[in-house]
């Protein structure tokens, strides 16, 4: 298992490198000169030149990449052009809200989607199944910000059960935190749950037609035990895979949702950095998300062994 893990991490290195090159080129090939932008409207060419030199923008691209990547390895992602704060520090400050939102979404998603998928598969081709799948298609098709505003309108503005926007840090009490992320997590979870419910249903349907399910029925086991203990555990691998893949979608959703609900997380940081052409921050944030995604995928691969004993490291 440990050798397998080490192998997976080693194989992730070239991926990270490619991602780094991609991010670096993407930002540097975007039109617009940050030095001119920073210097302001009344700057002389000499002032622009000074800024350009300070940011190493006068160096050739490969040199700049090596410097940037070397620093990134030491967790130095440069400084924000806008606030002059280290990018690593900016990300660290914004980590908590995003992390709490993502975890809450994930838990909510699994709690909603897996039972719905299981029930749909069990009641396949009945109106229950069709109802669940119709709900899934609907919530997957509506953009997350629409669901977000809708939820905010109903539960915050009309019913006043939950705050309209903002984030309460964990330090101020976990209950308040959960209340503040409840609506954005719900908005994100609806989209994500639609995907997971469909995959759970498909995977369950496949397992339910297998011979060992007939054996379980011949043993007189209850429907619930057959569905949960025998079918769901067998159906787990595809579901967990899609949860991993779906995390990429989730990250995109986090960026939008944080803007809708005004949550000071990494999503907001990203949007703000892009609108200000704050290249070091944009690079840092994308690199952070990419590495996170790679780590999640490794974790997903490792988790297969929990579901299926035939998978060994």
């Amino acid at each position: 298992m440990l050798t397998y893990l080490a192998g997976r991490i080693a194989s992730a290195v070239p991926i990270v490198l490619l991602v780094a090159i991609f991010i670096f080129s993407l930002v540097n090939l975007t039109p617009g000169d940050p030095a001119v932008l920073l210097a302001g409207d009344n700057a002389t060419p000499a002032q622009v030149e000074v800024i350009r030199e300070r940011l190493h923008l006068d160096q050739p691209l490969p040199t700049r990449f090596v410097v940037w990547a070397g620093n990134a390895l030491r967790l130095d992602l440069g400084e924000s052009i806008y606030s002059n704060q280290p990018v690593t520090k900016l990300i660290a400050q914004r980590l908590e809200p995003t992390f709490v939102l993502a975890i809450a979404t994930l838990i909510l998603t699994v709690v909603i989607a897996v039972p719905l998928g299981v029930i749909a598969a069990w009641k396949v081709n009945t109106w229950i199944d069709r109802g669940i799948m119709a709900f899934a298609v609907l919530s997957f098709s509506v953009p997350v910000f629409v669901i977000g505003y809708l939820l905010a309108y109903v539960f915050a503005v009309q019913l006043k059960w939950l705050p309209v926007q903002g984030y309460v840090p964990l330090a101020d009490g976990i209950l308040a935190t959960l209340r503040s992320v409840a609506l954005p997590a719900m908005a994100l979870a609806l989209v994500f749950a639609a995907l997971i419910a469909r995959v759970t249903r498909a995977s369950m349907l496949e397992v339910l037609s297998e011979n060992h399910i007939r054996t379980a029925r011949a043993k007189g086991l209850s429907t619930r035990r057959i569905l949960v203990i025998h079918a769901l555990k067998n159906a787990g691998v595809p579901v967990i895979t899609v949860i991993g893949i779906g995390f990429a979608t989730l990250i995109g959703g986090v960026v939008v949702t944080e803007s809708v609900f005004n949550i000071p997380g990494i999503g907001r940081l990203t949007v703000d950095a892009i609108t200000r052409r704050d290249y070091p921050v944009v690079q840092g944030v994308i690199l952070f998300f990419s590495v996170l995604l790679i780590l999640i995928n490794i974790a997903v691969d490792m988790s297969y062994a929990l579901f299926d004993p035939r998978v060994k490291g």
């Binding site: 060992h212 054996t215 011949a218 043993k219 007189g220 035939r310």
Partner: protein, 337 residues
């Protein structure tokens, strides 16, 4: 001998959008305590469907069933799903054809045996576990204590089938239904599994329904046999009776298609010409008549009920004497005479 299980006038129709298919036609038989009854016939003849009907595992919507299936005094067809669950795995155990896919790949064999004990005997986890160990010993699995932790993929086909048997017998059922239990196994392992079933039958004084298409298996294991064709029982009797006086064109065909004792690789096997009729277009007479070399014009007229050939030996064939005369010189028939 008292009957453990008795099936009477069992009719089963599958309905789909193309119409109805009569899968079982007036199936009646009984299973005595301590007896091994073999159901013989080719694929699609209704032997597995009969087993599934007894287990109450047929799809509820599309299968229309009538008649009675009595286990002791209880008619299983009167039970609801919850009551049936108390019968399955408890009073009737079942072993399936393919041990490679019939066990749950993601749970240990110990857990899979223990859960059926917990389900029906209300045993706690510890008691269920020790019962599982007892069962693995009973089905002669060596090093049973360590095997409890094994996953199905870590065991050979024969071992897995032993686990299936252990699971089916964990609650001391009155009836064991074994649906082609050796078809997927190596020949040497087949004999071991059949021997095991025979031994356990005596040790646990249960009755066995052994479903097979292999007359060799019938000859070596069963007490009584029932030959099925296209949803009907065409011939029924004690094994030695049926082998020594085959009384149905289809039984004769099955016997003749066996390789003889002296046959070499090059010698021909006699096959039964034609194929199984579609169950939605059956003729009123004998369903086997179109493939039968003994058939006459009378065979296409509506059939009388099965008639006695001898003690406990019944056949649906109106040409039984002609069949027997034609085949009485066959080496298998002579060997059993």
């Amino acid at each position: 001998m008292t009957d453990t299980l008795s099936v009477e006038h069992l009719n089963l129709t599958f309905e789909n959008e193309n119409g109805a298919v009569l899968a079982l036609d007036e199936i009646s038989f009984s299973l005595a305590r301590g007896e091994i009854l073999s159901l013989v016939g080719e694929s699609g003849c209704g032997k597995s469907v009969t087993a599934m009907a007894i287990m109450g595992l047929l799809p509820p919507g599309s299968a229309k069933i009538s008649g009675s299936i009595r286990l002791g005094p209880t008619n299983l067809l009167d039970l609801n799903e919850a009551e049936l669950r108390n019968v399955r795995g408890n009073r009737i155990g079942m072993v399936f054809q393919d041990p490679m896919t019939s066990l749950d790949p993601v749970h240990t064999v110990g857990m899979q045996i223990a859960e059926v004990v917990q389900r029906h005997r209300g045993a706690d986890a510890k008691a269920a576990r020790s019962r599982a160990l007892e069962m693995l010993d009973l089905v002669r699995i060596p090093d049973a204590r360590n095997r409890l932790q094994a996953y199905p993929h870590e065991l050979s086909g024969g071992m897995r089938q032993r686990v299936m048997i252990a699971m089916a017998l964990a609650c001391n059922p009155e009836v064991l239904i074994a649906d082609e239990p050796t078809t997927a196994l190596d020949v040497t392992v087949q004999a071991q599994i059949l021997e095991l079933i025979g031994e356990l039958k005596s040790e646990l004084s249960m009755s066995v329904i052994l479903i097979t298409h292999d007359l060799g298996v019938v000859a070596s294991t069963a007490d009584r046999m029932m030959v099925m064709y296209a949803g009907r029982i065409v011939e029924e009797g004690p094994v030695e009776r049926v082998f020594s006086r085959p009384s149905h064109g289809y039984t004769a065909g099955l016997l003749q298609s066996l390789p003889g004792y002296g046959s070499t690789l090059r010698s021909h096997l006699t096959e039964i010409a034609g194929s199984v009729p579609r169950l939605d277009h059956r003729n009123p007479g004998c369903t086997f008549a179109p493939r039968c070399r003994f058939a006459t014009g009378h065979c296409n007229a509506p059939l009388p009920d099965a008639h006695e050939i001898g003690a406990n030996h019944r056949s649906l064939c109106i040409r039984d004497t002609a069949v027997f005369e034609a085949i009485s010189n066959h080496e298998i028939v002579r060997a059993w005479a």
